[in-house]
Amino acid sequence: MTQTDMDVQQRLPFDLDRIRRDFPILKREIHPGKTLVYLDNAATSQRPVQMIAEMTRFYRDHNANIHRGVHTLSIEATDLYEQARQRIARFINAPRAEEVIFTRNTTEGINLVAHSWGRKFLQEGDEVVITEVEHHSNIVPWQMLRDERGVVLKYIPMLPDGTLDLDYARQVIGPRTKLLAVTAVSNALGTITRLDELIPMARAQGALVLVDGAQSVPHMPVDVQALGCDFMAFTGHKMLGPTGIGGLWARMELLEAMDPFLGGGDMILTVTMAQSTWADVPAKFEAGTPNVAGAVALGAAVDYLEALGMDAVRAHEVEITDYALRRLGDVPGVSIFGPPQAQDRGGVISFELEGVHPHDVGQVLDTHAVAIRTGHHCAQPVMAALSVPATARASFYIYNTTEEVDRLAVALEEVSRFFGVRA
């Protein structure tokens, strides 16, 4: 450990050694003698043993289908599933647990809103406003709705520093705006969007607000009531949970007014060959057997995060991002995209290395067991706005250390050497 490193380590808000022991994958030697440095957390997080254990326990001790079962296992499974809903609701401060719909992921949550709310309540000519920094998940569903229903799709452009053009926002959000759909944090650049400015703009025009919380819910305290939004989608696999489970929160009046999404078992009240009627919220939106074990295990992931404290999680990420901005900034040839201050970012750093394509950067880093993501990060419009074909992206989470940032920085220097970019 370097001196700087130790300084920072001491300021970090929680016990990293203890935390890292909960993530056995972090000990994996990717290549002989080279232990994993996992810096691809914006794509998906790693999983603590506690979450895996909860899932295993469910399958070994309580496994059954939920709802309508009168036997012990089914009652237990139902209770565990509904308890998970309550824990997740509390985590984002939802007023009522039933306002949390279990989905596969963020993407399904946004599609659910486009389908069940958008197709019912939007008319031709109504406007949906998105932004240029959105993940494809918060662009494509609205384009599909536009093409089907003649809704008008507008967007708030990105400024060169990766923040949104708020002056432009004030013009584009107008009386015809029915929905503002905006991410809380850009996964491609790390930018924290100014929801404190944007949500009031939309509300002043009578528009609803959907927040893509895929990169905020895992990384910082999120309170849907304090935000004043109407919909919030998020995903379990980025917050220590399993794959295949996510959540959509929405206000109860909206959920009650919306049409169902998928049709089938569990979302009905009555079915005859002629006609069906719908169950109450949340069942109305959860057709078929849900990912019961996934939901239960996501509950355990949320417990893990709550035990750390989301303020501490955020503080850790600010520290490590701040360190990384400085450390990477010192590597010859590296230029970093997005806001200069760690406070204005999630734990995400997108960068380029002069003279080396991001793909090659990622490939060579991998031989050093340093895992980063390269490409467009499902945000092609951001790449277009930056006029780059792709970027390299390092992203952090609760278990990352400044030592790992150092390994990234050293490896980047070797990448430059390998490609002969610098003498």
Binding site: I66, H67, R68, G69, V70, H71, T72, I75, E76, T78, D79, E82, A97, E98, L269, T270, A279, D280, P282, A283
Partner: protein, 159 residues
Amino acid sequence: MTNEPSLLDDLYREIILDHYRTPRNHQEMEAPTCSAEGANPLCGDTVTVSILLADGRVQDIAFGGQGCSISQASASMMTEYVKGRTVQEAGDGARAFQQMMTTGEPQDLEGFDDIDALRGVAKFAARVKCASLAWKTLEQALDGRAEPVTTDERTESND
């Protein structure tokens, strides 16, 4: 959470089985003042409640329908409780019953002694709505509303 065998006696108290086997007031009524139909489509329980009101009192009451022992016994006991009482008292009974299902606590209400036998149902989340159906249908009949009652509220039950 689990159904311990010892709990079974809590659920199926002798008086409940008695009401199930020999339901009281299980008949049709010619000209009710008000009536309501309740259904719990997920279980297949149905209950109809017909009431003859005069002078603000339930002069006569009858129930019909089919369902599990809990739903039918609860309906039978409900009719015994309600018969002869004022509309106000009947409503108080329905609210007390809901309270008993939610909390599992005894209710201090005149005429509720037998009904207390249903208190064990509160431990069986999956059966609470069976027990509640008759009482909700009663409330609906008294409100004079026409829409059918359902007890499909996920928040109250995991059935």
